[in-house]
């Protein structure tokens, strides 16, 4: 299997002098296609920072991120923007759906940016909505959906354009544990069906259990990398 994500001596520092925080300190990880990986660690260990850097949402202090064999630190603003659109799906802890768009329109959004034809969009939206169990909720606005439903819309939005990587920062943190577990099970199933690479961070020990690989961070360093 080829590597989809590779970080080389990846570092991210905040502040300087006495207040210097090494949020990430020379992290080297390689994630292969189709993996289902959890990033765990105590609060402040750098989980969010790592996902942000992998997703090209923030600048590195040192080191490189290689996604699909491309070094994203070499990319211009618009290139990176288009790269995220086409290669990365994001799921956020706070769902972050576009509030003025319905569930269906939120899921369609990235495909609209990509210029996917109306027929194809419709077909894919129907398919993914059925997969994440949102059938019948297509025209609801985010405010008319429960947290779990919103997060399922977010997962559908992240997956619908077939990105090579899905990055999810504590996707279940705002949900009760039963809903959270169901969501992770669903993600796992989608991971198996679609061979999509998932990387997610979590605090929840039960959710960690579902992962096939668990990377543990502490003070910005990888202290454990365990594959079941």
């Amino acid at each position: 299997m080829t590597s989809v994500i590779k970080t080389i001596n990846l570092s991210r520092h905040f502040g300087q002098g006495d207040t210097l925080v090494k949020a990430l300190d020379e992290v080297n990880i390689t994630i292969k296609k189709g993996e289902f990986t959890a990033i765990i660690g105590p609060s402040g260990s750098g989980k969010t920072t790592l996902l942000q850097l992998i997703g090209g949402l923030d600048e590195t202090s040192a080191g490189n991120v290689i996604l699909d064999d491309k070094n994203i630190s070499d990319m211009s603003g618009q290139e990176l923007s288009d790269f995220r659109r086409d290669h990365i799906g994001f799921v956020f802890q706070a769902y972050n759906l576009i509030p003025v768009l319905s569930a269906k329109e939120n899921i369609e959004y990235i495909m609209l940016l990509q210029g996917v034809s109306a027929d194809e969009r419709h077909r894919r939206v129907e398919h993914i909505m059925a997969q994440v169990g949102l059938t019948g909720l297509a025209s609801r606005r985010p405010t008319q959906l429960s947290g779990g439903q919103q997060q399922r819309v977010a997962i559908a939005r992240a997956m619908v354009s077939n990105p090579s990587i899905i990055l999810a920062d504590e996707p279940t943190a705002n949900l009760d544990s039963r809903t959270g577990m169901a969501l992770i099970d669903m993600m796992k199933k989608l991971n198996e069906q679609e061979q999509m690479t998932f990387v997610f961070s979590t605090h929840d020990p039960k959710i960690m259990e579902s992962a096939r690989r668990i990377i543990t961070l502490e003070d910005g360093r990888v202290v454990d990398d365990f594959v079941k």
Partner: protein, 405 residues
């Protein structure tokens, strides 16, 4: 399409704020439109008043006659010139005049008088002089039975000379050949009021004055009335005349009026600018507030692959839609007052004197200019003040999407 949908829904999302912004912008439009209408309308009204009074829209003279008038600086073959110009497009009427500074003698008093030779028919078609005859009647061409030519006399001169209708008026002047000209005329009409332009003038028919001054097919002034005052400058510029003749639009003939009007207009536009500035600050404030509140949302849009350019365009589009809607609302609001001003007018408690022209009624103008200039200003300034918030939104770091709510 996606952009338009997002923009529309974002506007509808915060209805109260959008409505307030819309109202302040349409208020700005309303003020701009009514003020421009009033300013344009009043000025064209004033211009019409004095161009119809005696100036006309374009005048032709011997080259430097206006600055250094002299009896000898004449327009020759004037009849042919008048006839030719009558046929030009946009010309309403043309007339010629002869000016002769004279001494007027009546009973036992003498006063200086400006004697003006006019073509009664053409003059009446070009200016309002005929309507200013207060006593007696309008000038006729022929001689009376007694063998004297008729004359109209300005009311002040008539009073000074103690003359009335039917009295004899003796004029003394210099003929064009240098000889002394003097003749008797019969007063058949008294024109003007104590403060009007013609109060000290004497009007003779062209036939009478030419005989009086021994002139031929000559005049000192050709006056042209056009179908609209705005055509004066291009018309004057385009006129092809013999070398020693000059055409001047009313803007040049009444230069002091024109200049004071321009200054006044500038003042108006400055106060309009101030209004727009204040409105813009309000708009800037709301647009900025709206974008700051949505920082996280822009972060999300960017994180999932929206180009910065599109985020920028989204803000601009939202502002543009609001501005456009404001213009439409403003137009609807301004329609009635502008219509009223234009077709009925605002009667002033006291007449206003502007460059020697009095006017009693404030008129508006109803034109594309009056409606478009405020629209361009409102939309333009809205887009301008939206540039900064739009740029800020476009530059939102996508990281902000990850920060927990």
């Amino acid at each position: 399409m996606l952009l338009l949908k997002l923009a529309f829904r974002n506007i509808l999302r915060n209805r109260r704020r959008s409505l307030l912004t819309l109202l302040s912008m349409s208020g700005g439009y309303f003020l701009l439109a009514t003020m421009i209408s009033m300013s344009e309308g009043s000025y064209s009204h004033m211009i019409n008043l004095f161009t119809q009074d005696h100036t006309g829209h374009v005048q032709i003279h011997y080259s430097d006659y206006l600055t250094r008038p002299s009896l000898n600086k004449t327009i020759n073959n004037v009849d042919e010139l008048v006839n030719n110009i009558s046929g030009y497009p946009h010309v309403k009427s043309v007339t010629s005049r002869v000016y002769a500074p004279s001494l007027a003698y009546g009973k036992n008093k003498t006063f200086p008088a400006q004697v003006i030779g006019i073509d009664p028919k053409r003059e009446a078609a070009t200016t309002l002089l005929e309507l200013k005859v207060k006593q007696g009647q309008w000038l006729s061409n022929g001689m009376s039975e007694s063998g004297y030519f008729p004359a109209l006399i300005g009311v002040s001169l008539a009073t000074n000379l103690n003359l009335g209708l039917g009295d004899e008026l003796i004029l003394i002047s210099q003929g064009i050949d240098g000889s002394i000209a003097n003749d008797i005329f019969i007063i058949t009409g008294i024109v003007g009021t104590a403060d009007s332009y013609e109060r000290n003038n004497v009007y003779l028919s062209l036939g009478a004055i030419k005989q009086f001054l021994a002139m031929h097919d000559q005049a000192h002034e050709v006056v042209i009335a056009l179908d609209h005052q705005s055509r004066a400058m291009p018309f004057a510029d385009a006129l092809k005349l013999p070398q020693n003749l000059n055409a001047a639009p009313w803007q040049k003939i009444e230069e002091s009026f024109y200049k004071s009007m321009q200054v006044d207009k500038k003042g108006n536009y400055i106060s309009l600018g101030v209004i727009m500035f204040l409105v813009s600050i309000g708009v800037l404030n709301t647009v900025l507030m709206g974008t700051m509140e949505r920082t996280r949302e822009f972060g999300v849009l960017k994180a999932i692959g929206t180009r910065p350019k599109m985020v920028f365009m989204l803000i601009i589009m939202e502002s543009f839609i609001l501005a456009l809607a404001s213009c439409i609302v403003g137009m609807l609001l301004a329609f009635a007052p502008i219509y009223y001003l234009t077709y009925i007018g605002l009667v002033m408690p006291e007449p206003i004197d502007m460059g020697g022209v009095e006017f009693q009624i404030m008129l508006g103008e109803f034109s594309a200019f009056v409606l478009l200039v405020p629209a361009i200003t409102v939309i333009g300034s809205t887009l301008l003040v939206s540039l900064f918030p739009a740029l800020k939104a476009a530059k939102t770091v996508p990281v902000s999407a990850m920060q927990a709510a």
